[in-house]
């Protein structure tokens, strides 16, 4: 594995309108690096969903992206409440988002399923009351 380029973003938990900002930045960087459009799209959708999740459930967190020649690793970390039942959370349409969030068009229960769908691997490390770290990989 050759030298990676690393990016780190703070995801502001208080602001819905800025959710997705990190994903837009990463998209720009990957275009500059000349990655193929399909790869850029996968990374950006997975990151966007992850960012939204961190804003809805965990009051924000950090997003780290490591870009290698043959793989892109996205690590999303938060100090939120944790996910009590990961298998349930992975089901399409399952959501614990509050009603006021749903009225904004979020919380459709597609976040985690989409993150899995658009990446080649996804690991969830979650501890109740401590936080969640999700590591996703997209291979070229």
């Amino acid at each position: 594995m050759s030298e990676a380029v690393k990016f780190r973003f703070d995801v502001d938990g208080s602001d819905f309108s800025s959710a997705g900002a990190a994903s837009v930045m990463v998209k720009k960087k990957l275009r500059q690096l000349g990655y193929p459009p399909e790869i850029i799209r996968k990374v950006s959708i997975a990151m966007y969903e992850g960012e939204i999740n961190m804003v809805i459930h965990a009051n924000g967190g950090t997003a780290e992206v490591e870009v290698y020649d043959d793989v892109i690793i996205i690590t999303l970390s938060d100090t939120g409440p944790g996910i009590p039942d990961v298998a349930l959370a992975m089901q399409e349409g399952y959501s614990t988002a509050r009603e006021n969030i749903r009225t904004l068009g979020f919380g459709a229960g597609m976040g985690l399923p989409n993150m899995k769908k658009y990446t080649d691997s996804m690991e969830i490390d979650t501890r109740i009351g401590e936080g969640t770290t999700i590591t996703m990989k997209v291979y070229l």
Binding site: S2, E3, V5, K6, F7, G20, S23, V24, K27, K28, K29, R31, Q32, L33, G34, Y35, P37, E38, I40, R41, S44, I45, Y48, E49, V67, D69
Partner: protein, 448 residues
């Protein structure tokens, strides 16, 4: 990469003061200040005309043909964009404009609004086709199309393949002239588009619609407006020509006109380049399955907000509302429920990876690491004094060898302070001391 792109936004060096207004407002970071003047990077410019609109010194202008171009052709057809009709105060009938265009030397007038009604009808057929990638994005605003081709590779195929109204108007106008005047050759005919914006000028110049470019020249709504003012006044009270367009065609001049006309409530209409970018970012990130059609206009208000118009876009829109009130809804209808082949864009929209730092990914990655490291050393205040719009853009320019780190005024000020520190006060500060002591004593005296 298309480097031979012909742009329509130009700069006059003697008027440009090298201020940072356009630099900060350019949505694609295409502008740098070099040698005290703004310089536009043609590979990045999308001809949106923002810099023309915001320049406090009027140093930027759109480069279009002027009205003398009429002299080049034996038979001239005017193609007025519907936004032209919104420029006039106290106008109650579009017929005055049609007549005025003839008085200016045009032999015929083919309203772009008429072709827009055909495009509306075709869009209604097209949107019902199976297997389309939704949402369909309007092809009418060339700035948006170019923006998508540069920054949104996965949305390129969402752009509607039907040509914009101006191309269809030009095609039909040319066909009509050749049928009515078989003695004329192609070169005798001048199909002259009256455009509200530089983006459409570039669109024509770069044959976006393929090799079938039916438009001969592009003049500005502004120039035509002033020329028309002279001739229209003299005709007051005389019998008029009549407009052949209806409410729908004229509605295309402002935001929402195109999308509301397709009679499908699952649409979105946005305007202003920054808003359009936000919408595109969001569509690009999520599956917008609940929308069928998206209309995006780079200019606020829609085409009436173009950089080559005269009137305030919202006033123009209000005038258009009253002008179209008594017109039929859509008098221009296609003959059948099929879309003629000639009305499809044969080229399609392709991703143009203009932003790539290097064709070699390893080189690009090394450059990106350097950019990140340099950005970390910069002040992050995005002041623009270095000539780049943001500190990060400045870091990119340094890595691309387009500028030097010492152009950063904040870094230079720090260096300067260090230098003074080294010099240990002796010269200037030593000389300042007795002066400040003197004035301090004077102050004490006056207060006592």
């Amino acid at each position: 990469m298309k480097t031979d792109y012909k742009h329509s936004v130009a700069l006059s060096d003697n008027k440009c003061k090298g201020c940072t207004t356009c630099l900060k407002r350019c949505p694609t970071e295409a502008i740098r200040i070099r040698g005290g003047h703004a310089v536009i990077n043609p590979a990045r410019c999308i001809d949106c005309g923002e810099c023309i609109k915001v320049c406090p010194y009027k140093a930027k202008k759109a480069t279009h043909d002027d009205l003398s171009v009429l002299g080049k052709y034996k038979y001239k057809v005017a193609l007025p964009a519907p936004s032209l009709y919104g420029q006039f105060d106290n106008l109650d009938n579009i017929g005055y404009i049609i007549r005025g265009l003839r008085d200016l030397g045009f032999d015929d007038v083919f309203e772009v609004a008429c072709a827009a009604e055909l495009v509306t009808a075709y869009t209604r057929y097209y949107i019902k086709r199976e297997g389309l990638k939704k949402p369909i994005i309007s092809s009418a605003c060339p700035t948006i199309t170019r923006m998508i081709s540069m920054n949104y590779p996965s949305l390129c195929e969402n752009i509607m393949p039907i040509l914009p109204p101006v191309d269809i108007a030009a095609y039909l106008a040319r066909k009509k002239v050749l049928e009515e005047h078989p003695d004329l050759t192609e070169d005798d005919i001048g199909i002259i588009f009256i455009s509200p914006c530089p983006a459409k000028v570039s669109y024509v110049r770069n044959s976006f619609a393929g090799d079938r470019n039916y438009i001969s020249a592009t003049v500005s709504v502004r120039d035509v407006y002033f020329a028309l003012l002279d001739v229209m006044d003299k005709r007051a009270g005389e019998p008029l020509d009549t407009t052949e367009s209806g409410m729908i065609g004229i509605g295309w001049a402002s935001t929402g006109g195109e999308s509301s006309a397709i009679l499908n409530e699952r649409y979105l209409a946005a305007d202003g380049i920054e808003n359009c970018i936000r919408v595109l970012d969001q569509i690009d990130n999520s599956d917008f399955t609940n929308l069928d059609f998206i209309e995006l206009n780079a200019c606020s208000g829609g085409c009436v907000g173009g950089a080559m118009t005269v009137a305030n876009p919202y006033i123009a829109q209000a005038r258009l509302h009253s002008l179209k009130r008594y017109l039929p809804v859509s008098p221009n209808r296609p003959v059948g429920e099929w879309i003629p082949d000639a009305f499809f864009n044969e080229k399609g929209v392709e991703y143009n990876p203009y932003a790539r730092l290097s064709a070699d990914r390893h080189t690009a990655m090394r450059m990106m690491s350097d950019i990140e490291e340099i950005t970390g050393c910069l002040p992050g205040i995005d002041c623009g004094s270095c000539g780049a719009p943001t500190c990060m853009a400045f870091a990119e320019d340094i890595v691309k060898n387009e500028t030097n780190a010492d152009e950063c005024t904040v870094i230079m000020r720090e260096l300067f302070h260090e230098y003074i520190e080294e010099k240990k006060t002796e010269s200037i500060l030593e000389r300042l001391k007795p002066i400040s002591r003197r004035s301090g004593e004077a102050e004490e005296e006056s207060s006592s």
